[in-house]
């Protein structure tokens, strides 16, 4: 006679330890991880685009650098998120705001930041580079842009960086 199957084992419905199959999940995670690692930039986001404006797009591949943050939106000029001048007055060459093609309130604010930075340079040796990042709205007029840039140049910030969206 052949081997008799065990009667006890026949009724044993407990399949033992339930095992989760992790293979497909591991595959997925590995792919996501590789993708993220590839797109990861070590610099992080140095400039967060302001929500008051739409930046122009450009084919340039240069990456942003740290600098004083200047935003020229449709209605306001902001330095470090602090409103400085009204665009309406800048556009209309209001004598209270504009003098010799220079935006006076912006000039004073930038001078203040420049003197602060220079003080830090003499005290702690952090070099003052005169870098300023300009975020301008894409519909900004050239005449107003020139006013802003002239003001930057006059107030010890000659190294301007125009912030744009990169298009591939």
């Amino acid at each position: 006679m052949a081997f008799i199957p065990s009667r006890i084992k026949k009724h044993d419905t407990n399949p033992g330890e339930a095992k989760l199959n992790l293979n497909s999940m591991m595959d997925m995670f590995t792919i996501i991880l590789l993708f993220l690692l590839k797109t990861y930039s070590t610099e992080g986001q140095l400039i967060s685009p302001s929500r008051y404006l739409e930046l122009p797009t450009s084919t340039i591949q240069q990456h942003p650098e740290v600098g004083l943050d200047l935003v020229v939106s449709k209605n306001l000029i902001l330095v470090n998120d602090e409103p400085v001048a009204d665009m309406e007055q800048v556009r209309e060459n209001d004598p209270k705001t504009i003098a010799n093609g220079i935006i006076t309130p912006l000039f004073e604010k930038l001078r203040y930041y420049a003197t602060q930075a220079k003080k830090i340079e003499t005290e702690y040796g952090v070099k003052f580079s005169g870098k300023i990042t300009i975020q301008g709205d894409k519909d900004l007029n050239y005449a107003d842009l020139v006013k802003v840039m002239r003001t930057c140049g006059a107030s010890d910030y000659p190294n301007m960086r125009l912030v744009v969206y990169r298009k591939e």
Partner: protein
């Protein structure tokens, strides 16, 4: 009575499974970390360096240098199109009138043609002038910032038949026609 069948022959050896828990831990931590720091909007910058505000003494020092012959390439953006001028020639369209690169039929600027004309200038001027990388852009007061940025793009480099030619990457802005 028969023998009991061999245990080794009828039972498969259980697969040795590696312990995946530490790897899973790593993934669960790394993926949210990378996701939060991922850069979705690509941001770039266009560098524009003005000479630092110069006093009268520095201006004196710079004067002798002006004797060398320079290209002085200038692109003017107007509401009719682009005007290109340089030490070689002022570029004109076929009939000798109007802008070097007129607007396209739908009223938008013809950046491709501008690039091609600047490439011609570059080829003609190559090696003859010291300021072969420099270009001055000026514009009418009402020209939009996007147009200016696109003009800078057109003047920086051009892709012809899949080959990239560097044109004039050193851009200077001029207050120009105001």
């Amino acid at each position: 009575m028969a023998y009991r069948p061999s245990f080794r022959r009828t039972h498969e050896e259980g697969e040795a499974e590696p312990n995946l828990t530490p790897i899973m831990n790593l993934m669960v931590v790394l993926i949210p970390l990378l996701l939060t720091s991922a850069e979705y909007i690509k941001i770039g910058v266009i560098e524009l360096n003005l000479p630092p505000a110069a006093g009268p003494a520095q201006v004196e020092q710079q004067r002798p240098q002006e004797k060398t012959r320079t290209l002085d390439l200038t692109v003017s953006i107007t509401d009719k199109g682009f005007y290109i001028s340089s030490a070689i020639a002022v570029l004109r369209p076929g009939d000798g009138k109007g802008p070097s690169v007129p607007l396209m039929a739908d009223g938008s600027y013809d950046f491709e043609k501008l690039s091609r004309m600047l490439l011609d200038v570059k080829r003609k001027a190559e090696g003859k002038f010291p300021d072969i990388e420099a270009i001055t852009i000026q514009a009418e007061p009402g020209v939009h910032y996007q147009t200016l940025v696109s003009t800078m793009d057109a003047a920086r480099s051009v892709r012809v038949d899949g080959q990239l030619f560097v044109l004039f990457p050193q851009v200077a802005l001029s207050a120009g026609i105001i």
